[in-house]
C-alpha cells in the first residue's frame, strides 16, 4: 500500500465532501428569501441519498467489470468482498479510499442540477429524481469515462476530473429537467434578485477550496500530476474571474460580486477535465475563455425562454464544454484534431444520452407523483410548504411568541421555548 497516496486521497475526499454544502450556499444565496432553505436542502439531500446508493450498487455499476463499454456489473453490490486491506493495485491505495472519493462525486453531480429548478419543485419529487438520475445516468456515464472497459475511457477521451461525467452531464440534465418542469411563476417579469450575495461568495469560496481535492485528488496519487492539476486549478480559476469581470464591466457597466463568484465557478468547471494535461499558460487560456464565454452564455436563457434559474447550463454545460474541447488543442501531449475529435465525440454522446434519459425520467416523475410544486406553495415560498421553517428570523414582530409548542406541551419537560 502507498501511504502517501492513501493519505492524499482520503484528505481529497473530505475536501470534495465540503463542496456540496458549499454549492448549497452558492445556490442558496442566489434565490429569493422565501425558498432559501429549500435550495440548501436540494443539495444537502444528495449527501444522504447518493452516499447510501453508492455503497449499495453505485460503485459496482460504475467500476466493477464491464458490459459492452456501457455499464459495470453487480459483482461488488454492497461492496461485497472488499476489505480494509483490499488495494487498487500493488502499490495502490485501499479500495475504500477510492470508493469514498468517487462517492462524493456522485453526491455533488445531481446537486449541481438543483440550481436550474430553484423555487418550484416538490421536495419529495426532487429526492426521487436524485435517486433515479444517479442510477440511470450518472453511474453509467461515470463508467463510460473512468472505468477500464468504459467506451470513452478506451477511446482515450480526456476527462481528468469530470468535465464530461460531472459538469456537461449535470448541465445537460438541468436543461432537460427545466424543459419538463417549466418556468418559475413570474420569470422574465418579476425581479428575482439574489437574497444574500455574501452567502454566494462564501459558497464559491468553499467550492474553490474543495475543488483542489476534486481536481488534484483525481490523480489518485500524491505526485507531479496532482501538483500540476492543483496549480492549474488556481490559475485557471483566477483567469476566469478576470474574464467574467471584464466582460461584465464592458457589457453591463459594473464589476459585480455575483459575477466574480460565477467566474470562479466557470473557471473551476473548465479546468476540471483539462488541468492535468495542460501547463499553466494553457490554464490561463482556458480560464479566460470560460469566464468570457460563460458570462455571455448566462443571458441565453432570457433570449431562448428556458428558466435555468441559477445558470447551470450557462456555467456547467458551457464551461464543461470549453474545458473538454479546448484540451484537445492545448494538451501538452497528443494535442491536435484527432484528440479534439475524440473530445467532441465524448461530450456529444454524453449530451445526447443524458438529455434523452433525463427528459424521460423527469417526465415520468411529473406524470406519476408530480414534479412541480402547487402554485400557492410556489408563490408563498416552498420553505414553508416542504420544510416548515423560515430561513431568517430577524424581526421581533415576526417571532412566534404566541405559537403553540406541541412537543413541550405533551412531554411537559421542556422549558418554554422562545421559538
Amino acid at each position: 500500500m502507498n501511504g502517501a497516496d492513501t493519505a492524499f486521497v482520503l484528505i481529497s475526499a473530505a475536501l470534495v465532501m465540503l463542496m456540496t454544502p458549499g454549492l448549497a450556499f452558492f445556490y442558496g444565496g442566489m434565490v429569493r428569501v422565501k425558498s432559501a432553505l429549500n435550495m440548501l436542502m436540494m443539495s444537502f439531500i444528495a449527501l444522504g441519498i447518493s452516499s447510501v446508493l453508492y455503497v449499495l450498487y453505485g460503485y459496482s455499476l460504475a467500476f466493477s467489470g464491464d458490459n459492452a463499454g456501457l455499464i459495470g456489473n453487480l459483482d461488488l453490490v454492497g461492496l461485497k468482498g472488499i476489505g480494509a486491506e483490499t488495494l487498487t493495485g500493488d502499490d495502490g491505495i485501499p479500495v475504500f479510499a477510492f470508493v469514498l472519493f468517487q462517492m462524493l462525486f456522485a453526491v455533488i453531480t445531481p446537486a449541481l442540477i438543483s440550481g436550474a429548478l430553484a423555487d418550484r419543485v416538490k421536495f419529495s419529487a426532487w429526492a426521487v429524481f436524485v435517486a433515479l438520475w444517479i442510477s440511470l445516468v450518472y453511474f453509467p456515464v461515470a463508467h463510460w469515462v473512468w472505468a477500464e472497459g468504459g467506451w470513452l475511457y478506451e477511446l482515450e477521451v480526456i476527462d481528468f476530473a469530470g468535465g464530461t461525467a460531472v459538469h456537461i452531464n449535470a448541465g445537460v440534465a438541468a436543461l432537460a429537467a427545466v424543459l419538463v418542469v417549466g418556468k418559475r411563476i413570474g420569470f422574465k417579469k418579476d425581479p428575482m434578485r439574489p437574497h444574500n450575495l455574501p452567502l454566494v461568495v462564501l459558497g464559491a469560496a468553499l467550492l474553490w477550496f474543495g475543488w483542489f481535492g476534486f481536481n488534484a485528488g483525481s490523480a489518485l496519487a500524491a505526485d507531479g500530476t496532482a501538483a500540476n492539476m492543483a496549480l492549474n486549478t488556481q490559475v485557471g480559476t483566477a483567469a476566469a474571474v478576470l474574464g467574467w469581470l471584464v466582460y461584465e464591466r464592458i457589457r453591463h457597466g459594473a464589476f459585480t460580486t455575483l459575477g466574480a463568484a460565477s467566474g470562479a465557478i466557470a473557471g473551476l468547471v473548465a479546468i476540471t477535465p483539462s488541468g492535468a494535461h495542460i501547463n499553466a499558460l494553457g490554464a490561463i487560456v482556458i480560464g479566460l475563455v470560460s469566464g468570457l464565454v460563460c458570462s455571455w452564455a448566462v443571458s441565453l436563457k432570457f433570449k431562448l425562454g428556458y428558466d435555468d434559474s441559477l445558470d447551470v447550463v450557462g456555467v456547467h454545460l458551457v464551461g464543461g464544454l470549453i474545458g473538454t474541447l479546448l484540451v484537445g488543442f492545448l494538451a501538452t501531449e497528443g494535442a491536435g484534431l484527432t484528440q479534439f475529435g475524440k473530445q467532441a465525440l465524448g461530450a456529444g454522446s454524453v449530451m445526447a444520452f443524458t438529455f434523452v434519459t433525463t427528459w424521460l425520467l423527469a417526465k415520468l416523475i411529473d406524470l406519476t407523483m408530480g414534479f412541480r410544486a402547487a402554485e400557492d406553495d410556489e408563490l408563498a415560498g416552498v420553505d414553508q410548504a416542504y420544510h416548515a421553517e423560515t430561513a431568517y428570523d430577524y424581526s421581533q414582530a415576526g417571532r412566534s411568541s404566541g405559537g403553540q409548542h406541541t412537543e413541550a406541551a405533551t412531554t411537559g419537560e421542556q422549558k418554554k421555548v422562545d421559538a
Partner: protein, 112 residues
Amino acid sequence: MRLITAVIKPHRLDEVKDALQAFGVQGLTVTEASGYGRQRGHTEIYRGAEYTVDLVPKIRIEVLVEDEDAEQLLDVVVKAARTGKIGDGKVWTSPVETVVRVRTGDRGPEAV
C-alpha cells in the same frame, strides 16, 4: 399636540437625531421604511439581468411635539436632513388628539 413625520435618506438619521436633541426633543421613533418619490428607484445587475428597484430604503422618524414648537422643529428637521440632491425625502406635521404615557397613565402634553 402635533406629530412630525419625516421620511429621509438613511445616512442623514444621525444629523437629524442630533439636531432634534439639541433643540430639546426628549424622544423619537425611527422605522426603516422603503418608498419612492419623483426620483424613482435605481438599477441593479445580476448576471447581466437588469432589475429596476423602485422602492429605495428610507428612514421614517416620528416625533410628538407641542403645538408651539411644531413649525420651528419642522425647519430643524428639514435643515438637518437636506443634502440638496434628489431623494432627500419629505417632512410633514399632523394634529394629534390624545397621547398617553404607558408607564404612568399621564395624558395630554404631560405625556409628550
